[in-house]
Amino acid sequence: MLAYILRRIFQSAIVLLVVGLVAFSLFRFVGDPIDNMLGQERTQADVERLRETLGLNEPFVVQYAKFLGQAVQGNFGMSYRQGRPVAEILMERAPATLELAAVSGVLALSFGIGLGVFTAIRRDGFAANAIMTLSLIGVSLPTFLIGILLIYLFSVELGWLPSFGRGEVVDLGGWTTGFLTPSGLQALILPSITLGLYQMTLIMRLVRSEMLEVLRTDYIRFARARGLRDRAVHFRHALKNTMVPVITVTGLQLGSIIAFAIITETVFQWPGVGLLFINAIQFVDIPVMAAYLMLISVMFVGINLIVDLLYVMVDPRLRGDSARGH
């Protein structure tokens, strides 16, 4: 068990080191940093002096170690395009993305579980079938087309909701929030639906199939035989047992929500980290790209590590050595 945990942590560390190496190589080999800092009129002596002060003459490994040391402290250098520290820009943009992701996640979970239970209980009903068919379309539509469709319906045709931006935000000591103003809340609706729709259909289908499976088991039949009400059987007994896979998938999907936020943020011009990253790629703003790359890897690797470790704790069969006793 302990060996497994240590091995997983070691693997995660290796992955992060490799990602760091990619990010570092970007800095080191894409465009000469000297070119970026010195103008046209420079002497060879200037170049040499700058190389020395920047530490570019040191061995590769030493430079890489220094780079990692800086990155761990949250120092990713200056954005080429905005001329400000990357960490500062990221901090400024993070609340927008996190709020969007949180709202989408909550939407996806609540509607996904609700509709999943509904379609499982009324499996042959007209409404359930309609929902299942619609969910198929939802899965095959690319995210950006869903966003455009929603903008067309609710912003262009009906004029109910804003099509871009965060609306009015309130600054709570460095954390800007859109939760506190009517326009901020309105602005959240379309992007969060766009972002959450895919995850919602995923959770819905998962809950449905798990529920159908569980409803066939003996203990549910016993519960019915005992004369329990449908509501108690469905929600107290059946739903509880479908939750383990749902929690796993939700955990793993957290990362995807952040990744797909890039697309949603671009469609709705949402001033978050994803839009920042897209702009960084367009303008080859390497410090921003490298920082985003490392940040998102830390997140993904962290989520996967936690999910894996939780698995081992929840499911005794996965604890290799102790399971052999059976």
Binding site: Q11, V15, V22, L26, F29, V30, G31, S140, L141, P142, T143, F144, L145, I148, I151, Y152, S155, V156, S163, G255, S256, A259, F260, I262, I263, T266, V267, F277, I278, A280, I281, Q282, V284, I286, M289, L293, I296, S297, F300, V301, N304
Partner: protein
């Protein structure tokens, strides 16, 4: 078994090759799946339209000489107010025929899709065969890398590869190589599925007698992998390739829509949708609608075809 006609009619005395193929399991199941037939027709038509785009397209959207700015924003099927020209699907802001731009966009989209899947396939099959047949540390390294890549969503991997490659290419070449960078990015983001399936199938095939026999008569590892094992692991690869094609087309459209894919000089369907989105509010719906509908029809048809293929090639699911 495969040669027996499933229908009640008696078999012809000497069935030709064509007749045999027509009665084979796979074609039989295809003939009885209307969704698959329609999908194949749609995909074939689109591929043909893309291949022969220069011959079919009524206008050359990229020849500035034929463009007339006066034709800008002509609605579909209506004569232009100034020039009197009529365009099937209307024109965009610069007077380019939307139908022609879609044909050429389809060409780019399909080209990138097919090439990316081909790259992913070659890479995945090679690594999968090596991992499965050789085992040991080769297997460990390849599958570890695959696991790591699987933790990240493919579209994110493609974005990162695109960003890195864009950074490495000198600025003056960026537009020229953008299409190839796109193929590289999508292809590299998608090889894991192939590698996993091929590795799994190779592990099964490796223990079969024919492999042992080939080894006994002294064939080398390379020959055994390519000539003997590869043909036997190809059918699941075909299914994954079809589904991957749909994913690659959508990935390409997404990247181009985000402005980090096909350059404006070589617009794909995604680029056209990106351009069309700009006219959503001013009422020129056709610039957006037709490319979007084309993309959807294409992705849906390829997906449905993949679904059918998966069911048809996997007897256990029937």
């Amino acid at each position: 078994m495969a040669d027996l006609p499933r229908t009640g009619t008696p078999a012809p005395a000497a069935p030709g090759r064509l007749r045999k193929a027509w009665d084979s399991d796979i074609v039989w199941s295809f003939r009885h799946a209307p969704v698959a037939v329609v999908s194949l027709v749609v995909v074939t038509l689109m591929v043909l339209a893309a291949v022969f785009a220069p011959l079919i397209a009524p206008y050359d959207p990229f020849d500035p000489g034929t463009l007339n700015l006066m034709n800008g924003f002509t609605p579909p099927m209506e004569p232009n107010a100034f020039t009197g020209d009529t365009f099937w699907l209307g024109t965009d802001d610069q007077g380019r025929d939307v139908f022609s731009t879609i044909l050429f966009g389809l060409r780019i989209s399909l080209f990138v899709g097919f090439m990316a899947v081909a790259l992913a396939m070659v890479l995945g099959i090679t690594l999968g065969l090596l991992a499965g047949y050789l085992g040991g540390w080769v297997d460990t390294i390849i599958m570890r890398v695959a696991d790591v890549q699987l933790t990240f969503p493919a579209i994110l991997v493609a974005m990162l590869i695109f960003g890195v490659a864009k950074g490495i290419t000198p600025p003056e070449l960026r537009n020229e190589v953008a299409i190839w960078v796109l193929i590289l990015a999508i292809g590299l983001s998608d090889w894991v599925q192939f590698a996993r399936v091929v590795r799994g199938a190779t592990l099964v095939e490796k223990s079969r007698d024919y492999v042992a026999a080939a080894r006994l008569i002294g064939r080398g590892s390379g020959a055994i992998m390519l000539r003997h094992i590869l043909p036997n692991v190809l059918s699941p690869v075909l299914v994954i390739a079809t589904i991957s094609l749909a994913l690659a087309i959508i990935a390409e459209a997404t990247l181009s829509f985000l402005g980090i894919g096909a350059p404006p000089t070589q617009p794909s369907l995604g680029t056209l949708i990106r351009i069309g989105q700009g006219f959503l509010f001013s009422g020129e719906w056709w610039i957006l609608l037709f490319p979007a509908a084309t993309l959807l029809a294409l992705a849906l048809a390829v997906n449905l075809l993949g679904d059918w293929l998966r069911d048809a090639l996997n007897p256990r699911l029937r």
